[in-house]
């Protein structure tokens, strides 16, 4: 037996899902497509049943890819499967449009009237008994965020049945209207402060300052959490607890030799330096866990908060006009924001854009000019210690490149860029458990992706050095690297490793003793010249090989141009 959770987008489906399922939640792609859904299981009368969170849909006559999948998943059900139709009580009319379509399919269904508590604030009263009578399926008021009514919903799951409600398709809205008239009573009420804030943040005069303040605070909070974790957790753990362990291991291995250098790395003045030693157990662990993870965690806490509160769609509306200048619409801000965490989810999120032109533009400017948290954490550490203004040059250059390339693409890339069209859900206080679960899934994903690749990167760096390959490639590429970019030959090693992990690549710059000018150029070029291998494979899948090759050519050329210009301009 399967249970399908279906409903409009933004009706708290995932909160219901989190209430019903345990920890065994997995996000996966629907076979052969790029639409993601989550799957879990719950206990029902002593047996495990599968629970699927179907992508949100407004209608069973699909208007986009995600809705097509929702319909397909509905068609794939077998006898005995049950639909839980999650309905937004404060938006009964719109929700019932889908409910009636579901009932027509003659599937065993049960309706969960979510946000029941909100109806009171909004002056809405709904007669759930009467609704149940009319629809012919159980209707259970719930408030998923507090958990109220969820138990009752589970108890009544076995009462789910197919309805005999009949109507003509052309008359559906009319039917919905009739039902709403019968069961719902709306009285006058005052706007809640969340609604007032919601409206204020989409009006230009108030919305622009609000957006600026929110983004500024987001940035501050990320730095506060990130630096705090590094200073009070990361460094103490590595310096006080881990250092003695690896020092002992180092002396056991004889403080030198091939294997020692691989595992522990080079000793700097007889000491292990987590930034420079470059062994698997030293730098290999310190970079992903000690230096990068704190920022990744901080970033995902803030991003998840912004997502679950309903700020992102409003931001999308506010930046729409600007995004049109680079050939995209407001919603393309989503892949860019995600990309600031890691380019892979950012690249995946370009799917929300409809046309090939939009996907090409967004994926290309994303992987060129949006640095991921791992790269940023290292750059902030390395360049930032020379002063914030140098950091500003790095970020300013990347932003300028983002805008400039976007404007050029907008003029040259063929195809259409459609307009923005999206529902703007009300502001809501995020539900903690969903929020934590989301952050946890993202962190888990980062650790699984990053740690092995960093270790592999460190391993390869050591092998390449041992066999003299980096020195060799350095000599070949010297004209470009030294003349155009003004970097020492050894920096080529960082560019090679940057393909594996950009954070490791920045780490490789530390022992080179670069000037601040060289550090700035190296940081910008590392961000731009090519995506890391994880992003690269994702982009090949998303764009296709041909478009990806075009995109890659643009990356290499633009990074050389920008790096060369910086070399000329900077004193």
């Amino acid at each position: 037996m399967k249970i399908l959770l279906m409903g409009n987008p933004n009706v708290g489906k995932s909160v219901v899902f989190n209430r019903l399922t345990g920890a065994d939640v997995i996000a996966s792609n629907y076979a052969g497509t790029t639409v993601e859904f989550t799957k879990g299981s719950m206990k029902l009368d002593g047996r495990r049943v599968e629970l699927i969170d179907v992508p949100g849909t407004y209608t069973l006559e699909p208007t986009c890819k995600a809705e097509e999948i929702a319909v397909e998943m509905l068609n794939d059900r077998v006898d005995g499967d049950v639909i839980i139709n999650v309905v937004e009580s404060t938006n009964l009319e719109r929700s019932l449009n889908l409910t009636l379509q579901l009932l027509k399919r003659k599937v065993p269904a049960i309706v969960a009237l979510n946000f029941w508590d909100e109806t009171k604030h909004k002056g809405i009263s709904i007669d759930d008994k009467k609704l149940e009578e009319i629809l012919g399926v159980p209707c259970v008021p719930i408030c998923a965020v507090t958990g109220e009514g969820v138990k009752h919903l589970v108890e009544r799951l076995k009462e789910a049945k197919s309805s005999s409600y009949k109507y003509e398709d052309e008359e559906r809205w009319h039917e919905v209207g009739n039902i709403v008239d019968k069961v719902q009573n709306v009285t006058h009420r005052h706007h809640t402060w969340l609604e007032k804030l919601g409206d204020a943040s989409v009006k230009p005069l108030t919305g622009i300052p609000i957006a600026v303040v929110v983004m500024f605070l987001a940035f501050k909070v990320i730095r506060f959490i990130g630096e705090g974790l590094i200073g009070y957790v990361g460094e103490p753990v590595f310096e006080k607890l881990w250092l003695p362990v690896v020092m002992k291991l180092s002396s056991l291995m004889g403080s030198g030799g091939f294997l020692h250098d691989l595992v522990i790395g080079q000793l700097i003045d007889g000491e292990i330096d987590f930034g420079q030693s470059f062994g698997l157990l030293t730098t290999g662990l310190f970079v992903p866990i000690g230096a990068v993870l704190p920022y990744v965690f901080a970033f995902y806490v803030v991003l998840s908060l912004l997502e679950d509160s309903g700020f992102i769609p409003r931001l999308a509306v506010m930046v729409d006009t600007l995004m049109h200048r680079v050939g995209l619409h407001g919603f393309a801000i989503v892949p860019m924001l995600l990309g600031l965490g890691c380019n892979v989810p950012g690249a995946l999120a370009t799917r929300v854009l409809e046309t090939r032109r939009e996907r090409f533009i967004s994926a290309t400017i994303l992987s060129i000019a949006v640095p991921c948290a791992a790269l940023q954490a290292m750059v902030v550490g390395l360049v930032g210690e020379h002063g914030a203004r140098y950091l500003a040059i790095v970020y300013g250059t990347l932003l300028a490149v983002w805008v400039l390339l976007g404007v050029i693409f907008n003029k040259t890339v063929k195809g259409e860029s459609p307009e923005i069209f999206l529902e703007v859900p009300p502001y809501r206080i995020p539900y903690m458990r969903s929020l934590l679960k989301k952050i946890w899934i993202r962190i888990k994903w980062f650790l699984k992706e990053a740690v092995p690749f960093v270790l592999l990167g460190v391993l390869i760096v050591n092998l390449l050095y041992t066999f003299g390959i980096i020195q060799f490639v350095g000599k070949i590429t010297a004209p470009v690297v030294t003349r155009v970019l003004g970097l020492p030959q050894e920096a080529v090693g960082a560019l090679i490793v940057g393909f594996l992990r950009k954070d490791v690549a920045v780490g490789m710059l530390i022992p080179l003793g670069l000037t601040i000018k060289q550090l700035i150029i190296a940081s910008v070029v590392l961000a731009m010249y090519f995506p890391c291998v994880a992003t690269f494979t994702t982009l090949v899948k998303e764009l296709g090989l041909v478009d990806m090759l075009k995109s890659a050519a643009i990356m290499v050329i633009s990074s050389l141009v920008v790096g060369g210009l910086l070399n000329l301009i900077l004193p």
């Binding site: 407004y58 209608t59 006559e61 208007t63 937004e88 404060t90 938006n91 009319e93 719109r94 449009n97 909004k122 809205w173 919601g198 409206d199 989409v202 009006k203 230009p204 919305g207 769609p313 999308a316 509306v317 506010m318 729409d320 006009t321 619409h329 407001g330 459609p418 307009e419 923005i420 069209f421 999206l422 529902e423 703007v424 859900p425 009300p426």
Partner: protein, 117 residues
């Protein structure tokens, strides 16, 4: 009755905007058509309420809007519009939706009588 009330009404600043737009973009039917009592979402002022009388786009636009419960005959409120031909935000019931400028100009609305003044 309604026709009488709506006769030739257009707020002054809309007129000014139409003149400027005409200068900038040449003749634009969506701005100049302003059939007395019918305004597009773009021409409405933020905060005004009205009833959708026509969705002038193709089947796709009508269907997308319909899925959100926004269709001919529905009462809507314009919440805001972004500067420089940015998207329009409207509210229908408890649903808010943002439409790009082009789409918004294809949705025609008849203003509520009390909002006319």
């Amino acid at each position: 009755m309604r026709i009488e009330l709506n006769l030739n009404y257009r707020p002054g600043f809309v007129d000014a905007r139409i003149r400027i737009r005409k200068k900038l973009h040449g003749k634009e039917t969506r701005m100049s058509e302003a059939k007395a009592n019918r305004l597009s979402l773009v021409q409405m002022r933020s905060g005004q309420k009205g009833r959708i009388v026509e969705i002038n786009g193709g089947y796709g636009l009508a269907r997308k809007l319909d899925a959100l419960g926004i269709r001919t005959g529905k009462e809507i409120t314009k919440i805001s519009a972004q500067w420089m031909r940015g998207p329009v935000l409207l509210q229908q019931g408890n649903t808010q939706a943002a439409l790009g400028f082009g789409m918004a100009s294809k949705v025609l609305v008849e203003l509520n009588a009390k909002d006319e003044k």
